[in-house]
Symmetry: C2
Subunit: 319 residues, 2 copies
């Protein structure tokens, strides 16, 4: 029994590919998740997407799906649906829309992952916002900029790459090749880099111990678990991460006048570890705080699911 229209929503990130059957009210009727292949070139990703779409369509919840929406990390030409380049994935000049329409026979829209997540939060989050920034903090830092109720993409979809604004020109190298991008300082990749450095400097510390117990290299999840267990080193790394994010938020708040800054992406699941220092820095660096409101910094209502839900919503809005 199907109520309302449904679409497939797919969120392609640097670490995982999440797919879902999404209803008009944002309900997820079925879902599917794959790891992003180490070699995420166009051919490999085409095979992966075809397989995911077939599985989702075969699900009983997939009966009657009318469209596909994709949100993908990288520079997506809008509305063409071709991804030119991505900092944390190896696909280049990938015609996602053309491939999926041919493979599935369904109308397909392809947008930047931050944009679709912003759409989900602005339309269906806890508050409906006309002017809002969503920042997705995951492998990279993505953004959805909602101005006057509409996603700001730039004339060809190449705008809103907020993760690559510079927050310190002498900072660490980013996956994009530059130095000191917000993404280089305030992403899951940054947390992993800082965690590895901390573990190398203190091999008997909790971060190194947790990684050794799990039999692998230090990752962001070990830093998170150590911080949650009260490890001061790990908590300090989160303070660095959150502070960089908050400085970026303060800059964006100088540029845009928004009702709220909403944080999504995988790292929002670390909760106040990330959000508390981000809020502090967003206040510390707020421009003209006696004359301009400081928007609240809130966790995304859809947490790290905003991407796939927003991708489905966009497909329903555009088809």
């Amino acid at each position: 029994m199907t109520n309302g229209r449904r679409a497939i929503g797919i969120d392609i990130g640097g670490t995982k590919v999440a797919g879902a059957i999404v209803g008009e009210d944002g309900t997820v009727h079925a879902e599917l998740r794959r790891n992003t292949p180490d070699t995420s070139d166009a051919n490999t990703m085409n095979d992966l997407l075809r397989d995911m779409v077939e599985h989702l369509c075969a699900d009983e919840a997939g009966e009657g799906v009318c469209a596909i929406g994709v949100g993908a990390a990288g520079t997506v030409v809008w509305p063409v649906g071709r991804i030119r380049w991505a900092p944390n994935n190896s696909y280049r000049d990938w015609d996602v829309r053309g491939f999926l329409e041919g493979a599935s026979g369904l109308p397909t829209v392809v947008d930047n992952d931050g944009n679709v997540a912003g759409l989900a939060e602005a339309r269906l989050g806890e508050t409906r916002y006309d002017d809002m920034l969503l920042l997705t903090v995951g492998t990279g830092v993505g953004a959805g900029i909602v101005l006057g109720g509409r996603i700001y993409r730039g004339p060809h979809g190449l705008g809103a790459e907020v993760g690559h604004m510079n927050v310190n020109p002498d900072g660490p190298q980013c996956g994009c090749g530059n130095y000191g991008c917000l993404e280089a300082l305030a992403s899951g990749t940054a947390l992993t880099r800082m965690g590895r450095s901390a573990a190398a400097g203190d091999p008997s510390g909790l971060i190194a111990t947790l990684a050794a117990e799990s039999g692998g290299e230090v990752g962001g999840e070990h830093v998170t678990r150590a911080a949650m267990a009260g490890d001061v080193t790990a908590q300090t790394l989160f303070q660095r991460l959150g502070r960089a994010l908050g400085i970026g938020i303060a800059s964006l708040n100088a540029i845009f006048e928004v009702e709220a800054v909403v944080i999504g992406g995988g790292l929002v699941d670390t909760g106040e570890l990330l959000l508390a220092p981000a809020r502090r820095a967003a206040h510390e660096f707020a421009y003209a705080p006696t004359a301009r409101p400081i928007p609240p910094v809130l966790p995304a209502a859809f947490r790290s699911d905003a991407g796939k839900i927003g991708a489905g919503l966009l497909a329903l809005e555009e088809s």
Copy 2:
């Protein structure tokens, strides 16, 4: 003999107040300039503006002016026309629109100075742009963000404060009170600060010598004259200034997809001293340069006159 409609345009900056009679095609038919008083509170500024408007209306070119437009540094509530606060002027909660409409009987619009300068450049500059950033580099750094042919102000006029995006959280203090704003590193104020420091460190150097010859403290104009005369210290300061500006441009180019970045304000008259290092840094820090165009960095067609012309244009567009 008057052809077409005319308005008074007034540009209120941290150093000067420029007024003009502006035609629909941007022609300046008469102009007037005052220094911004050291105490630039609302009462002092009201007296100054009334005097300027009376002088301009009394000019034969002022016959038939139908409206007043003001572009002012600070956070201007739109379309209310009240300025809440400004980093480099002492007016606070100043009802500019109410005062001028009462004093002149003419419909008045009041907007941020960067916004109106952006309007002039987008509408009447050498190229007509639908998507453009104007940065005014003067006492402070202002901006006009033109997206899809319209000025982006934020829902209440409190957006587009690009001068206060952070480019280095450990940087020098800004007039706004924060540390490391673009304005703190890439404005006339920054040039003066750096020039004074250089002169203090080298009292027999050209910067200090030029200032002593003019009988006053070191100002940005001494650094400019020294740089133009080939002084390496002064040229290095311009490279620092331009580099900071270019990093800011690269960040803005990640956030917005624009056709051009146009530089106005008083310092654009220093030409390539400022623009060449700004272009270099905008390229060095450009995000995804193989996938996204790098917009040209151009001097404003109206140079430092864009503010008063844009203020007049806005009055004609809105009245």
